[in-house]
Structures are given as structure tokens and as C-alpha cells.
Amino acid sequence: MNRFARRSLIGAAAGLLASAALVFTLGNPLLGAALGIAFGAAFSASLPPTRGTYVDNLMGAGALGVPLWGLVSVIALPLLSGQMPQWGAEQMRQHFPSLVGWVIYGASLGLFTQALSDIAGHFFGPEAAPRLPPAREKTRVVILGGGFAGMTTADCLEQQLRTNAQVSVTLVSETNALLFTPMLAEVAGSSLEPSHISTPLRSSLHQTEFIRGRVAEIQLDKRRVILEADPRNNGSTAQREIPYDHLVFALGAVSNYLGMANVEKLAFNFKSLLDAIRIRNHVIEMFERAERESEPALRRPLLTFVVAGGGFAGVEVAGALNDFTRGILADYPKLRPEELSVILVHSRDRILPELSESLARYAQKRMEERGVVFRLNARLADARPGVVVVSDGDIPAETLVWTAGTAPNPLLKTLAVEKDKRGALIVDSTLSLPGHPGLWALGDCAAVIDSKTEKPCPPTAQFALREAKTLAQNILAQLERRPVRAFHFDSLGALCVVGHQTACAELTVPFARQRSMRFSGLLAWLMWRGIYLAKLPGLERKIRVLMDWTIELFFPRDIVQTIDLK
């Protein structure tokens, strides 16, 4: 028998027995019995039975009698008999006998329900367990990459699948945390603690199986992903093969050194948390060495920091390094400000091509005022130890940070699917790979074309987040045999910090997508901080970052070396 039907029957019988008190106090036997049965059935049905809880039921149901008296005797019964509710103080006092009757009814209902439930359990066994859906083979969705695109896809799938246990989601990532890249420059500049801008994937995802590992091979024909073996453990039994029904490529991009092997060898990458930590520690190392160096000519390259690339990443890291290096000069009394230089090398005539020209000029002017040197229309050609070779002249420098080019993950080269000239996977407007059912791609590793504007979508986190939502909806739509939808998103704008309390912001005007509002200076900087703090995943991380920013207002930046780069 259905458990609710069983409970209701028990409750109705108990209610009938307990209704003696109502019959006696309400003065209408039929009404008293009917009310007793109805409330008994409802009471019993709403509570799962537990053996032997007589006194708990006695008191709990007794308490139930008090409000029931008010609802039924004081309000409902007079209304049903065509009178006004009798809730005046004196009228309620006249109902005192029925209050006692309802309390006695409640208390005895609790006892009888428990007794009948125990008897039913003794003779007929426990309640039937809720029916589970028949076990079927699960549909496996595997997501490769734990960046914004991969993480958001998994999160959206979790939200949409809810209690659907017929679909399993697995996320494979080389790192176990989502890096909030907009704040990466602040880690390199020692403003923020590294772990404060990373959110553990395991804590953020509840239903998704997370596997930390590097993908070695994807066998499209056998529909499985092969992970690299752990070289430190030959006898490892760790899972290496992951079968899939739907595979999502969210592998992101890597730095593209345009074939310059020396640059690749000598330059600092600026993509991961470790890169930012290494840059910060390297800067401190350079200062320590320069402090001991008495020869000015040898000091110069130690205190020259070159950033290649004038896009968002390059400008932000140059601004952060400039603030950091000039700030810590106070801790190095032998070094003079004029010995220090932060140089940004960019191949075009203006920085920040993503923003309008006026904002780019503003950013350049403010950065120059703060000491950053720009080498525009200059190409980085090569690098040697202590020298950065630029098309318009060499720069003696021990530090080079590369932000000038990216390329899709090299793993994609091994796949026999259609790619664009950058090597990104070509997807249709629904973000699936044409001709490959069950394969999807998004983010920096995909060539996504907006379905309305038919323009390529930029490889930014803003677009990756929206692509992830559409992709998750489309996977679910396919599973449920519903129509999939095409991807479209209008950019909300862009923000870039260029130095201490200075930023540029270009925000799209709502409902007038072709127009934008431009902000600069302190207001734009406050907008940057407010917007990105709100976007940073997790309340705990938000608080930690906010504390870091607050501490920075009152105390100098930390120059403790945390890793040894020698």
C-alpha cells in the first residue's frame, strides 16, 4: 500500500477514536467525528512514523489542538453556519470548553496514531519504501577544462539537472581551482594573496565528479578520454580512461610565442597562478640582487622589467608591476627611482585595441605619468639572457613578461575535427561541432560565431560564461529531445586597471548596443573593483579579497619571498 494512504488510514482511525472529546464538546457528534477523522488523517500523513514515540506524539499533537481550536471552533464553524467568526475576547472565552476538547482530542490523537502505527508495523511490516526509478545506464557528460567555461558549464548542468540521477557530469582539469584571471595582475603586483583569487572546484561543485589530471588523448571513435599516467607512480591504479556520451571542450588557450624559442625559454608566462607567483618572487629577487650590486651598468638590467603585449593583460600587469616596484623602493635604500624602469612593448600604434582610442590614449598618458615607458610600433624579435631584443633597439633587462599572443590548447591539434587558422575548434551556432554529435566546444579553444551579429566572439571570460549557459541548456535539450538554441550575446563592455586607483571602463548602453559609456580615473577604478568583486565566485573569497584591498590601504605591499627562484 502507498505509504501516504497507509498513514492516512491509520490517522483517520486514530482521529475517529480521539474524536470522542470533540463529540462531547462541540455538541454535534457527526461533525465532531468528521473533523476528528479529517485532521487525524492529515496529521498522520504529514509525519513519517517512528516507533515508540508516544510521549512526543502526545505533546506534539496536544499542541496542535490549540491552533485547531482557534481555526475551527472560533473561525470556521461560525462562518459555515452563516455567522461572523467569534473571535471577540468574550466569545472566545465562551469557547473555552471546546479549547479543552481540542487539546484532549490532539493529545489522544497523538497517542492513538502512535499505537495504531506500531500495531500496523507489527502485523503488516514497515511502510513501503518510496519507489525508485528503474536503474538505467547513465548518460555521461565529460567536460575538459576547469576555467570559466568548463566550471560554468558544470555548474549550469548541476542546476538544470537537479535531482536527475540519470546523467553524470565529470570535469577534468589540470588544476583543482578556478582562477579568477581578472585579478591575476594584482597577485603579480603583490596586492592580493594568490589563493584568494582561486576557488576550489571541489567545493564549488556538488554533483560533478572532479578529476585532476592532464588529458593525453581523446579517442573520438571509441568515445573516451585518456588521461596521462602519473609518472611518479608506476603501479598506479588511478582511473585513466573516461568514457563519455557528451564531451565538452573548454580547454582554454596557452601562450603563443610565435616560434621564438628563446623568448619561450626566458620569458615569464602570464596565464596561471604559478606564473603570477613566479613573477612577484622574481621581481623581489631582482631587487635583492640589485641592492647588493654596486656597478650601475649591471644594476640596470636587474631593475628593468619588460612586458610584451599591449592588450588588457599586458597593460594590467605593466601597471601592477610599476606600482609594486616603485612602492618597494622604500625598502631598498641603495636603489634610486631613476634606475628603475617598466617598459611595455607593443606592435601597434596604440595600446588596448579592445577599447576606444580616447580611453587608450588616456590609459597610456596616466601610465607614462606614473613612470611606465611605452615602445609602440615595436616588435619583440628575440631574447637573450639579460637582453630583450626589440625591432627598434635592444633593452638590457633580466625580466620579460609575455602577454603578446595566445593559441588554443595544443591538444586540439591531435583531433580530426574542423579548426580555424588559429587552431580553434569550429562550432556551429549551438556550440556543437558540426558532424560530430555529442561534441561541444566553447571559450578560448573554440571559434564561436554570434548567431545574430555573425561576428566572432572574443575570447573573454564574459563571453565564456554566457556560452557555458547556452551549451549546458543545449546538452539538456538534446537529452530531453527538445530543440537546441543558438548562441547570442551582446558584450556588456570592458574594464581595465592601469595603475593605482586608476582604470578605464567602456560599458555598453542598455537597449542601445551600438553605443557605449566611457569612464576613466577613480570612478572607473571603483567600478572595476565593485564589478569584479561581485563576479568573484564565493562569499569567502570576496571577503578575503576585500580584506586584502583594505589592508593595502594602510600597509605597504609584502616583499617576503615565498618561492626560491635561484
Binding site: 509525519l47 510521549v55 496536544g62 475576547a89 470548553p97 476538547g101 493529545a107
Partner: protein, 484 residues
């Protein structure tokens, strides 16, 4: 009320080697002793009172002793049993059987039997429950949740003192100290204030010692504060303070009516005490227990706080809609929130809904971890609704409209109709909140770690929550009716 529980704390807490006869015999002895005291105080037949007390103690020892796992749990269970006993026998079944069950005569009889109610609570309920609770705790073989004396006394004492300070500042302008009602005039203001704080400290510290194991969050703390405050009204103004002032003991309904205002004062003090104790207790647990990495939970603190406020606001809105017909019919709506007495009904309705949403947010904030099923949600919702009847129309509304509180029995009588509206509001708000919460958390529970934590948060079978509902709801509704 049955609850899905994993471990029956009460049953598990019992020692294996303890004879089942000891508790009934102990209950019988203490009950008989209490009955003798009650007979002496009420000047009734001592033999009959001893027999009555012995039967009470025996029944408690036989059927309730398993639930008396601590002095606090024992106290609440036995107070509830005492109230039920009084409702069943002196005021209930005997009168119904004698044929006076369909008239005001029964209420008059109940008023005449009011001293019996005070007697059964003070002389039987308290000693039997506390004694068997102490016995139960001593023989629990360490299977109960850990008890921290420092946490109980410090958090309880601080909460009591702070509650006394806040409450004292509020009510002392009229030189009226509800906690001292019945004591009479003191010589100096400093002596009055000192005594006020001494009693507040005593109530607070004893609250922590008695109920540390039972209270879980802000909501249950308020519930326990409400119940304990009602008990202290019987203990303080009606009993100890009169005795301490050298006045003859008077447990009559007439005397209770005279100090009815202090009942409302006690209830408000109990709520402040409950909330403050919960704040200190949660802070203590956060600083010294949950900060230990070994005790780390999967889900961090504060993650569901905002959602609880959102669900609470929505649930409060639904509760406001459900209760508005009663408030409209009773004419309370136009004066709601005390903003403008000339408001039209529609304007009043809008303000009522806004206030309902805000109060609903307080439900979300305070009661979000208390209920795991609709039945339990409704029970806590009723307690919440009753709390707001005492806080809102009885206190805040007159304070905002006229600048003074009227805690008289006449004021309570005039506001009785809206009590029904508040109970409906509480129940509907609680059940809607639970539905919204379940809708969101259902999928989270697929994670076995979160499901395990949710299971830990469910109040296990055997805690005194059902007894508290009965005692607090029963007396919270009964006393304004009985004493008006």
C-alpha cells in the same frame, strides 16, 4: 510529534545497568513530596495532594523519564505534562463529566482552579522534571552531546545580563521592572536596578545550563526563551518575589491578572534572552568548536543566509495574504505598523504585506534550520506567530502609536482576535518557507556529505521540542483567555 530521526538520543543516553524501577520510584517520591508542599501551600487536603503528586511523579517516571536526559529537558517535559494534567483533570474532564462543559461556568471553574495550575507547575512539574533530568544526565554514560559549563554559564550569563540591560533600559522609564513584579516597592532605584540585574543574570545563566543541549539556532532559542520566561513568571512574580517581599503567597487568578503585564514583559525578556543567548552561543561554537579543522562542514557559513532572507520574504508575503482576511475583518489592518491610522484598507493591506514580508525575513533568518518536515514547520510557525502577537500588536504597535505599552489583560482581550491571524500567518509562512527551501536544497542533498549534514541538523526524536510547543503555545494562548 514523530520526526524522522537517526539516533534516538534520549533512548541511547540511558545506562544499561540502571533498573527501570528507579526512575518511577524516584518520580513517585519527589512527586509525593511536591504534592505535600502543594497541599500545604494551597491549604488543601495534604493526603489527597500527596497521592496526586505521587501519581504525577510515577507517570512521569514511567513514561517520560527516558526523555529527561538533562535537567532542562526534564523541566520542559514535566512542565508540559503538568499543564496537560491540569487541563485534563481539574479544568477539563472532571468539569465536562460534571455537566458544566457547555457554558462559561467551565471557564469560571478553571479560573478557580488557577492556583492548582501554579501548584502543579511549581511543586510537581519543576522538582520532578529537574530531579529526573539530573538523574538521567548522571546515568547517560557519556553518550549525550558534550556539555560545556563555561559556554553555558558565560553565554547564558552574558545573554541574561545583556537582555536585562536592553530590557531594563526600555521599560525602566516608567519605573516598571517586569522581572520584579510582585516584589513591591524597593527603597532606592539602585537597589531596584541591582535586583533586576541579579534576576536577569540568574535567569540567563540557568537558561544556558538547562538548555544548552536542546537549543540549536536562533529560532529554537527564542522558543525555549519563551517557554522559560512563562515558567519564570509563575516562579518569580507569582511565587518567589512575593515570598521574598514577605507577602502572603497568592496564586489566585485575580492576583495573576494583576501581574499579567509582567507576563508579557517576561515573554519579551525571554525572547531577547533567547536571541542573545543564541548569538553568544553560536559565536562560542564558531570560535571554539567549528573553527577546529576537524569539525569542518562541507558548506561554509553564510552561504544560504541571503537565500533564507529571500525565501523568508516570499513566505512572509504568502503568510500575509493568508492572514489578511482576519486582520481586515477585525479592523486591525488600517492601524498596522502604526504608520497612519487614516490609511484606507487598501493602503493598510499594502503596508501589512510589506510588514509581513519583513517579518517573514526574520523567520527565514531565525528558523531556517529548525524544521525538516511540513508538520514540524507548522509547529514552529505557530510558535513564531504567537511570538509576533506578543511582540507586534501587544508591544510594538501601541508603542509606535501612543508611545507607551499597554500590557493589561484588557488590552490582551481586545487583541485576542488578531492572535488567530498571527497563528495562521506563522503556519503559512513556515510551510511556504519549507517548500521554497526544499525546492532549492533537494538536489544538493544528492551530495552524501551535505545530506549527512542535513540529517545531523534534524532535531532527533526525544528532544523536548514537542513538550515546548505544548507548554508555550498552550499557556501563551490560555493565559490571556483565562486571566482577562
Amino acid at each position: 510529534m514523530s520526526q524522522t530521526g537517526t539516533v534516538n538520543v534520549a533512548q541511547a543516553g540511558k545506562g544499561v545497568g540502571v533498573s527501570w524501577l528507579i526512575e518511577p520510584v524516584l518520580g513517585l517520591c519527589i512527586g509525593a513530596l511536591g504534592g505535600a508542599v502543594q497541599g500545604a501551600l494551597l491549604a488543601t487536603s495534604v493526603g489527597r495532594s500527596v497521592l496526586w503528586g505521587a501519581v504525577f511523579g510515577l507517570v512521569f517516571g514511567l513514561f517520560f523519564a527516558q526523555r529527561a536526559t538533562s535537567p532542562g529537558a526534564g523541566l520542559i517535559w514535566s512542565l508540559a505534562l503538568a499543564l496537560l494534567t491540569w487541563l485534563l483533570f481539574p479544568a477539563g474532564i472532571l468539569r465536562l463529566l460534571s455537566g458544566s462543559g457547555h457554558s462559561m461556568a467551565m471557564l469560571q471553574d478553571a479560573r478557580q482552579q488557577f492556583p492548582e495550575l501554579v501548584g502543579v507547575l511549581i511543586c510537581l512539574g519543576m522538582p520532578v522534571g529537574v530531579t529526573l533530568g539530573i538523574w538521567g544526565e548522571a546515568h547517560s554514560k557519556g553518550q549525550q552531546p558534550k556539555f560545556s559549563w563555561g559556554r553555558a554559564v558565560v553565554a547564558g550569563g552574558l545573554a541574561g545580563t545583556l537582555g536585562g540591560f536592553v530590557f531594563g533600559r526600555w521599560v525602566s522609564s516608567g519605573n516598571y521592572y517586569p522581572l520584579l513584579a510582585g516584589f513591591g516597592e524597593l527603597n532606592s532605584r539602585s537597589a531596584t536596578v541591582s535586583l533586576h540585574f541579579a534576576i536577569a543574570l540568574l535567569i540567563g545563566a540557568s537558561f544556558g545550563v538547562l538548555f544548552q543541549r536542546d537549543v540549536r539556532g536562533f529560532g529554537s532559542c527564542m522558543g525555549w526563551g519563551l517557554g522559560y520566561a512563562i515558567f519564570w513568571w509563575f516562579m518569580g512574580p507569582l511565587t518567589l518575589l512575593r515570598t521574598a517581599a514577605g507577602l502572603p503567597l497568592d496564586w489566585s487568578a485575580e492576583q495573576a491578572s494583576v501581574v499579567f503585564g509582567s507576563l508579557v514583559g517576561h515573554i519579551l525578556y525571554g525572547l531577547i534572552l533567547g536571541v542573545t543567548y543564541a548569538a553568544f552561543d553560536r559565536l562560542w561554537v564558531r570560535l571554539f568548536v567549528q573553527s577546529d579543522p576537524l569539525n569542518r562542514e562541507v558548506e561554509g557559513p553564510g552561504l544560504r543566509l541571503l537565500r533564507s532572507l529571500e525565501w523568508g520574504a516570499l513566505a512572509g508575503l504568502v503568510g500575509g495574504v493568508a492572514s489578511s482576511p482576519i486582520l481586515l475583518a477585525t479592523g486591525v489592518l488600517p492601524t498596522i505598523a502604526g504608520l497612519d491610522t487614516r490609511l484606507s484598507s487598501f493602503g493598510g493591506l499594502l503596508i501589512h504585506l510589506l510588514v509581513s514580508a519583513l517579518i517573514g525575513m526574520s523567520y527565514g533568518l531565525l528558523f531556517r534550520n529548525e524544521a525538516s518536515s511540513v508538520g514540524l514547520g507548522i509547529a514552529w510557525g505557530w510558535v513564531f506567530g504567537m511570538i509576533w502577537w506578543y511582540v507586534g500588536p501587544m508591544t510594538l504597535l501601541p508603542l509606535m502609536l501612543t508611545g507607551v505599552c499597554d500590557w493589561s489583560t484588557d488590552a490582551a482581550s481586545a487583541l485576542l482576535p488578531s492572535l488567530m491571524g498571527h497563528l495562521i500567518y506563522g503556519a503559512v509562512t513556515a510551510s511556504t518557507f519549507l517548500l521554497l527551501e526544499h525546492r532549492y536544497t533537494r538536489w544538493l542533498l544528492l551530495d552524501p556529505r551535505i545530506a549527512a549534514r542535513a540529517q545531523r541538523r534534524i532535531r532527533p526524536v526525544g528532544t523536548p521540542a514537542p513538550a515546548l510547543w505544548f507548554f508555550a503555545l498552550g499557556l501563551g494562548v490560555l493565559l490571556p483567555i483565562l486571566l482577562g
